[in-house]
């Protein structure tokens, strides 16, 4: 079909890229993205980097600025080793949820890949970042780079003042709790860098003024509450003042730890804020990659149809595209779970199909969108208002379940066999769909651990409760390590109780006090 509409010259030929070609190609991609797909994006800032810089970026969790910590060095060494040995290639790009939206493109990419990457990151991811409700509500694209700058400077200052070892200790502990340092329901406030600095100063002033009010070590008669409650966990009022139960462990420690100094609390805040910033990305892997992949696939095909891409370039792009969306079967040696790129793209293309060429089945399953012929609007709505779990629950169609031949296994620890519960048939669709959605529910992927009580007038023991779902425990090694870190931040013993969600039965209990005695 190359020359049928051949009124336009290809944007580039050959594999070498130049800034001139990049600019031309970007303009063509932008034209389709904005005028055909109707994407809304932040201003793009595309930076060309070398492979070494890419490795650097890898090891600071993809951010252009990051404070220093040994774990990033470890990450760097691991990536470097893998790369040198050829086990893994480097990513073509990294994109950052910021305004302007920064994407890093590798210098080694060929021109065809640069085009693919621009469509993928600078428009696909960019649109998703800008429009998805999670990102809009929970992250601050305008302020993130400024905030990281602040964080980096602040931590460097702490290292200067208190020594790297002291800072490292706090960071180690904070990193261990990072996954449990996010608000899942409450929305955090947005602060610019200046406000951060101001607030920090204000906090220091406040704490200096109210030094002994934060933690009264001696109960006074003037305050009746403190005297009578010997068991704080039983006292509803006390629980109330601390806002318990609290799922954000880092937040709780930061606000209430009896032993931390102001700068240590600030470091916890920094780690917490960064965790919060990444929280939406963890919940939207399938959608985010699906969106970017769908967008690049559509745009590349349009460019090719318009005669703007040579056949060679298109072949290279397709080759790379099919590597990315390759989904091995469960019994394949290469299988390592469901590929988010493949699932995301397949679902989005399926939505397009349902909108334009619905079957009877689609009409019964998706009456709102089937045959509405507005696949652009439908997809944009989905990208804006869902996360992985709800997206799958809402849009995974029987057609796609059949196509992917999805089936659901149930694995009970005490059974000798794994049971096939449902497959891609009439009776199984709903079960498969719900189960797959649950596989992406962060609330179920991450252990549910909350602060439930603090014995403030007694031994100040911090009590945590792990609500055990389906009898799945926390792996022991990590658990003990995290509790030890928690104890370091809290200054007193920490107690973790595992409670079954359904029966309320106490399944296990670990405590730093006991492990110290043992």
């Amino acid at each position: 079909m190359t020359e049928t509409q051949g009124k336009r010259e290809p944007l580039f030929e050959g594999s070498e890229w130049t800034f001139d070609k990049l600019r031309r190609t970007y303009a063509a991609i932008e034209d389709i993205a904005l005028n055909d797909l109707g994407l809304e994006v932040y201003t793009n800032q595309i930076e060309i980097i070398s492979s070494e810089q890419m490795l650097d970026a890898y090891s600071s969790i993809g951010m252009p600025l990051m404070y220093q910590h040994w774990s990033f060095g470890k990450q760097f060494l691991r990536e470097e080793n893998m790369y040198r040995k050829g086990f893994t290639g480097l990513a073509y790009e990294i994109v950052i949820n910021s305004n302007p939206c920064i994407s890093y493109n590798m210098e080694e990419n060929t021109m065809a890949i640069q085009a693919l990457v621009m469509a993928h990151a600078a428009f696909g991811h960019n649109h998703f970042f800008r429009n998805n409700h999670l990102f809009r509500q929970w992250t601050d694209a305008d302020g993130i780079l400024e905030y990281l700058q602040f964080a980096k400077g602040y931590i460097a200052k702490c290292e200067e003042r208190c020594g790297p070892a002291a800072v490292e200790e706090v960071l180690d502990a904070a990193h261990a709790l990072m996954d449990h340092g996010v608000f899942r329901h409450r929305r955090p406030t947005r602060l610019s860098k200046q406000e951060q600095v101001d607030r920090e100063k204000e906090r220091v002033r406040y704490e200096e003024r109210n030094f002994q009010d934060i933690w009264r070590t001696v109960p006074t008669n003037g305050n009746g509450d403190d005297v009578k409650d010997k068991t704080a966990d039983a006292d509803p009022e006390k629980v109330c003042t601390l806002n318990l139960p609290e799922e954000n462990l880092l937040y709780f420690i930061e606000k209430n730890s009896p032993i931390l100094e102001t700068w240590q609390r600030e470091i916890l805040r920094i780690v917490r804020n960064i965790a919060q910033y990444f929280y939406p990305q963890k919940q939207t892997k399938v959608m985010n990659e699906g969106c970017a992949t769908f967008v690049h696939y559509y745009i590349m095909n349009r460019l090719y149809d318009d005669g703007l891409l040579t056949e060679g370039a298109m072949l290279e792009i397709l080759h790379s595209h099919s590597n990315v969306v390759f989904q091995p079967d469960f019994d394949d040696k290469r299988f390592s779970g469901v590929n988010p790129y493949a699932l995301g793209l397949a679902m989005m293309q399926d939505i397009k199909r349902i909108c334009t060429e619905p079957t009877e089945e689609d009409r019964t399953w998706f009456p709102e969108i089937a045959g509405n012929n507005d696949w652009r609007g439908t997809l944009k709505d989905a990208w804006a208002n869902y996360r992985d779990e709800s997206f799958i629950q809402q849009f995974l169609s029987p057609h796609l379940i059949r196509k992917l031949k999805l089936f659901l296994c149930v694995d009970e620890a005490e059974e000798r066999h794994v049971m096939v519960d449902s497959i891609h048939d009439e009776q199984g669709y709903k079960a498969v769909r719900s189960a797959l959605a649950r596989n992406y529910d962060l609330a179920l992927i991450e252990p549910d651990v909350q602060v439930v009580a603090v014995d403030m007038s007694g031994d100040r023991c911090l009590r945590l409760r792990h609500t055990v779902h389906d009898g799945v425990h926390i792996s022991e090694k990590g658990r003990n390590g995290v509790i030890a870190h928690l104890r370091r931040l809290w200054g007193y013993d920490v107690d973790l109780i595992g409670v079954d969600r359904d029966t309320g039965e106490k399944l296990y209990e670990v405590s730093t006090a006991k492990s110290a005695a043992a």
Binding site: I48, D179, L406, H417, M419, V420, I423, P447, S475, G478
Partner: protein, 441 residues
């Protein structure tokens, strides 16, 4: 709106700080591995960094994660072939269940060890950590020293390149204030006033006399300004430099190796390995160190590095020839007033009958007084290790050298029987002075 930015010229190695932090944290374990690696590797390879694996203990990052077994799990897999609902699949490898998925190790971290590559620099630094040449500063000759220029205050004379502007301007300002140099503003104001009066079409008598007075003053001021220059030669101050004595740190290592017929391939290999290590160590730690290679059979010869390490030679054994050669080199090129002399000798302990006494005499009377440190390494046959386990027993040379060691505390002697011995012996010989008890005065 969009822009492209070429970041390729930006500094690389942004994560070098993080890498160093990691190295610091894992230092003890990395060091253990590095030291162990010496046994498995050819010494010539040491200079190229290497990949090492260290236990994850101490560098793990714990998190609350679900365990990979236990409880009830539901997972969805793609690619069903023949399964019907109700089918059962054998655990653990029967179906898609085997490989653990997201609950498994994250990034392979569940493994017991962490693998990564050290750079050559990192490797050598760790390798030679806490080693040094003993007595690098000549204790007996401390007053004979080299000089280095150091800043010492200011002077009134010197070369223009050393002018200290700040000092000079301070002096100038003080002098101008003291001598009352008229300010530019003052003169400017006067000139303006004169110009204003001058410009009047019909000046009154008063104004004319005032004009006259002003002109007088201005003339006076200008004259004064000429007398009191802005900067006078007396103001100028120069940075002063004075030679400051520096302790002498030039060092030469003289390597003596027996390559006679009695040294078999194995012995020569061990000796060479020892010297390669020594050479690497000196290159790494002491940029200014000279190394002299002397090999001997029944005749001794100073050779270059390549010949020393790689050429084949055979013949009888007269150890004293090497010592004579060493003395000659020292006298010709390395005056003890400027150089710290170090000696390292490797031999299988065999010597021509009657020559041994000559050796000890030379060492005791001529060489040891010149040397900061002298190390003797005897290469043993593996069978001999049994016999010569104690320090007392040994071949002729060993016995004779013991008398030297007794008399001179800076004479060290060690034995090597297998490659694994080299590094420990090397460490013992060059452990940091502070670790040793006896410090020569």
């Amino acid at each position: 709106m969009f822009h492209f930015i070429d970041r390729r010229q930006n500094p690389k190695h942004k994560s070098i700080g993080n890498r160093q932090r990691f190295m610091r944290r894992a230092r003890v374990r990395i060091k253990e591995v590095v030291e162990k690696s010496i046994k498995d590797r050819k010494l010539t390879d040491i200079a190229n960094g290497e990949e090492i694996a260290i236990p994850t203990k101490g560098i793990d990052e714990p998190h609350f994660r679900h365990a990979s077994d236990g409880g009830r799990r539901e997972r969805v897999f793609p690619g069903n072939k023949t399964f019907r609902p109700g089918d059962t699949i054998e655990k653990p490898e029967g179906g898609g269940k085997g490989k653990g998925g997201k609950e498994g190790s994250d990034n392979g971290e569940g493994e017991d060890e962490f693998r990564f590559a050290l750079t050559r620099e990192e490797f050598l630094d760790l390798f030679f950590e806490d080693l040094e040449l003993p007595d690098l500063v000549k204790t007996t000759l401390r007053e004979v020293v080299t000089y280095k220029m150091r800043r010492t205050g200011h002077t009134a004379t010197g070369t223009p390149t050393n002018i200290n502007v700040l000092r000079t301007m301070c002096k100038s300002l003080g002098r101008r204030l003291a001598l009352g140099r008229p300010k530019n503003d003052e003169i400017l104001a006067l000139e303006n006033e004169i110009a204003a009066l001058d410009g009047k079409a019909e000046p009154s008598a008063d104004e004319l006399s005032r004009l006259e007075a002003l002109r007088e003053t201005l003339k006076g001021l200008l004259r004064r300004r000429r007398w009191v220059p802005y900067i006078d030669p007396v103001d100028i101050r120069y940075n002063n430099f004075a030679p400051k004595p520096e302790p002498n740190t030039k060092a030469v290592m003289i390597c003596l190796m027996d390559v006679s017929g009695s040294m078999g391939e194995r012995e020569k290999d061990l000796a060479k390995r020892f010297f390669i290590l020594l050479h690497l160590f000196l290159n790494r730690r002491y940029k200014q160190t000279d190394v002299v290679f002397i090999r001997h059979t029944h005749v001794a010869q100073e050779v270059d590095e390549d010949t020393f390490f790689y050429s084949q030679e055979t013949g009888g054994t007269v150890v004293s020839t090497a010592l004579v050669e060493m003395l000659k080199v020292v006298r010709d090129r390395y005056p003890t007033s400027e150089w710290n002399i170090y000696g390292a000798q490797a031999s299988d302990g065999e010597n021509h009958a009657g020559d041994t006494d000559k050796c000890t005499a030379m060492l005791a009377q001529e060489i040891m007084p010149l040397c900061q440190y002298y190390a003797y390494i005897e290469i043993l046959d593996e069978r001999e290790t049994e016999i010569f386990r104690s320090m007392q027993n040994g071949a002729a040379l060993w016995q004779a050298y013991r008398t030297v060691a007794d008399a001179w505390s800076n004479f060290a002697m060690k034995r090597i029987a297998k490659p694994g011995d080299i590094y420990p012996v090397f460490r013992e010989l060059f452990a940091k002075q502070s670790d040793k008890v006896a410090v020569r005065l």
